[in-house]
């Protein structure tokens, strides 16, 4: 209950912030542009996929970090009231990620909806929402373990870059190095280690199912070809929301303000 009371005011604050409004409008403009200038709506979804996988995590983690540091005094003020720390944490986290997710769904979903919804739209939006919640959680984690704002933002940027680029490059290198070994199971395990990859797979399972079905190995075939892949991705995405959040909360509970 207390969480909801605070959440209400966190939402009032965040939804009025210029950043969120600009983010929503920008996403809307880009999505609208891609969908309406393109010849083919399924191609538009693919272009949007790249935005979802790069921009959503970046904005979520940077804005999340900045927001956390800017709210520090407010949190102190709340902490001096008869309110449990975890209530404050959940309110801040839920408020911010819900606002960012709403901005994303509105900005990207509305143009898709106006177009009549292309194949993969639902999973595109779902992945974006998951990534928003995950990267906001990572932002809170980076902020809560660091007193220094600049350092916190730096760590956030590194985390984003690692998840979006470095990780996949490393995986590719591993494929080359171990190309003579069976890598089926390793591939599935590795995919669980990066939420951006999980989100990408979730969309691909709808968008590129034909190509994914072409794989001859039984494990990956099963993974790509059935509801198993979707369940797996969603399950691990959910874990990716939960783990950093709980970790950040436990640090938050012990933190000296």
């Amino acid at each position: 209950m207390t969480t909801l009371k605070i959440l209400k005011y966190v939402l009032y604050d965040v939804l009025r912030s210029k950043m969120i409004i600009i983010y929503t409008l920008l996403l809307f403009a880009i999505s609208f542009g891609i969908i309406y200038t393109g010849k083919d709506v399924s191609k538009a979804v693919i272009s949007l996929l790249n935005i979802v996988l790069l921009v959503v995590p970046l904005v979520s983690i940077i804005f999340g970090t900045i927001h956390f540091y800017n709210s520090k005094e407010f949190m102190e003020m709340l902490l001096a009231m008869p309110v449990k720390r975890k209530n404050i944490f959940w309110a801040e986290y839920a408020g911010l990620s819900a606002a960012l997710a709403a901005g994303f769904v509105l900005g990207t979903g509305l143009p898709l909806l106006l177009y009549g919804g292309a194949k993969g739209s639902f999973y595109l939006l779902l992945s974006g929402v998951f990534l928003t919640f995950i990267f906001t959680a990572l932002a809170f984690l980076a902020s809560v373990i660091n007193k220094d704002k600049a350092k916190g933002i730096g760590i956030s940027l590194v985390v984003w870059f690692y998840m979006s680029v470095i990780f996949d490059a490393l995986v590719l290198v591993l494929y080359f190095v171990f190309s003579s070994y069976p890598l089926e199971k390793a591939t599935i395990i590795v995919s669980a280690l990066n939420p951006v990859d999980l989100a990408r797979i979730l969309i691909l399972l709808k968008l590129d199912v034909s190509a994914l079905m072409g794989y001859t190995g039984a494990t990956l075939q099963q993974f790509f070809g059935s509801a198993f892949g979707i369940l797996f991705s969603m399950g691990f995405l959910f874990l990716w929301v939960l783990m950093p959040t709980l970790l950040a909360l436990s640090v938050f509970n012990r933190k000296n303000f």
Binding site: D168, L172, D197, A211, M213
Partner: protein, 409 residues
């Protein structure tokens, strides 16, 4: 004048006589004995009802006609109708439940060494083989529906099976739930037209060593492995639809050792591989639509002198892949939706060439698990770099005249 009238009347009467009489079979009576009683040119008319009979042998040129779709139920005992005579017509029956055997290819309707037979408008339910033609010539198989419930390849037969035949017309049939919907082996100068073959365990259409055939306006959808065309010369495949044939070893169209053939104006949608070509020589692949396939066109290195012209490639995961670093085929005037070039002189043809083979598809070719990185930022980056400076993809596999807009066929 009167004389001529009389002659005409007499001629007409004798003609009627020679075209035979009608024999009516009612429920409870035997079709088999009616057929035995009939003579050349008779018409055996079977009234609506259930007939539990098998091994009905037709060895003289008669018409066997069902009225109101009577059902001949073979009760899983061997074959149901066997034709060993020219000029036989079988029309308008439900022919159900042939025998299943690992030793013999039991069929609902079998035609052996005959000419000018017509198998028309029958419904063949739950048979091992549907219509089996062996050593036939100039027969028509039209408007039939064959539906079975095949589960595995080894325990099922084909919908329409041709073996050592020529000049057969297979038209407007619907085939589903068999091993292969339509199977041609050593069938030449034949034509498959307007057939619909879907949900078969193996191939929608399968043919081997069947030269000089034509396949027009057929639909092949959701079959276990698509359509396979093997070891054949001079085939024409026009206006067919190859749809949603998905799976690890599944193709819209599988070509193996095909020469001097034409694949034009077909539509390949949602297949794991649109066309897979192994040893295709002097093929013309033109005016086809490749839409939403995993791989639109997989051409192995032993494909030579093929021409890929005026096709539309859109929303495919990969457009063209090959296992070779050389290319001896010609790509020209296709529309590629991934093409990012420009057209300054506004002639509809892009001013920079297009390379349809992406580096990432090469990587996937070598390390299939890498498909996991599909559409990742890193994969896109690699493709971009390779497009600018091609190192790993075949240099001559290039469309010098890519179209700016969809080709209208």
């Amino acid at each position: 004048m009167n004389k001529i009238k009389y002659i005409l009347i007499i001629l007409a009467i004798t003609a009627l006589n020679s075209f035979g009489k009608e024999i009516i079979v009612n429920p409870g009576e035997s079709i088999k004995s009616a057929v035995q009683l009939s003579v050349k040119g008779d018409r055996v008319i079977v009234k609506e009802g259930l007939y539990k009979e098998a091994e009905i042998l037709i060895d003289k040129p008669i018409e066997l006609i069902g009225e109101g779709y009577p059902t001949i139920d073979g009760f899983s005992k061997g074959e149901i109708i066997i034709i060993r005579s020219d000029s036989v017509t079988v029309k308008g029956f439900y022919v159900n439940n042939s025998g299943f055997s690992g030793m013999r290819d039991y069929a609902a309707i079998r035609i052996e060494d005959s000419k000018h037979c017509n198998i028309l408008s029958n419904k063949l339910i739950n048979n091992y083989f549907g219509i089996y033609l062996a050593g036939c010539d100039s027969c028509n198989v039209m408007y039939n529906e064959a539906a079975s419930n095949a589960v595995t390849e080894s325990s099922s037969g084909n919908g329409i099976h041709l073996w050592k035949c020529s000049y057969i017309l297979v038209k407007n049939n619907t085939l589903t739930g068999h091993r292969d919907g339509i199977y041609f082996e050593f069938a030449t100068f034949s034509r498959a037209e307007n057939n619909s073959s879907f949900n078969n365990v193996r191939y929608g259409l399968h043919f081997m060593f069947s030269h000089n055939d034509e396949y027009v306006n057929n639909v092949f959808a959701n079959n276990g492995a698509g359509v396979a065309v093997m070891y054949t010369k001079n085939v024409k495949m026009y206006n067919n639809r190859f749809e949603f044939n998905n799976g690890a070893n599944s193709y819209g169209l599988l070509l193996k050792e095909i020469t001097d053939s034409y694949i034009e104006n077909n539509n390949f949608t949602g297949n794991t591989v649109g066309i897979y070509s192994e040893g295709g020589t002097r093929l013309l692949i033109a005016g086809n639509e490749f839409n939403s396939n995993g791989y639109a066109l997989k051409m192995l290195g032993n494909c030579t002198d093929d021409t890929v012209r005026g096709n539309n490639f859109s929303s495919n995961t990969f457009d063209v892949t090959t296992n070779s670093s050389r290319n001896s085929n010609l790509f020209m005037g296709n529309y590629w939706d991934k093409y990012k070039g420009y057209d300054l002189d506004k002639n509809g043809t892009g001013d920079v060439p297009y390379r349809p083979v992406s580096l990432f598809s090469k990587i996937v070719e070598e390390t299939p698990e890498a498909v996991f990185l599909l559409r990742s930022f890193v994969a896109d980056l690699l493709d971009m770099a390779e497009r600018v400076v091609p190192v790993f993809t075949p240099e001559s596999l290039i469309d010098e005249t890519p179209k700016m807009n969809r080709v209208i066929n």
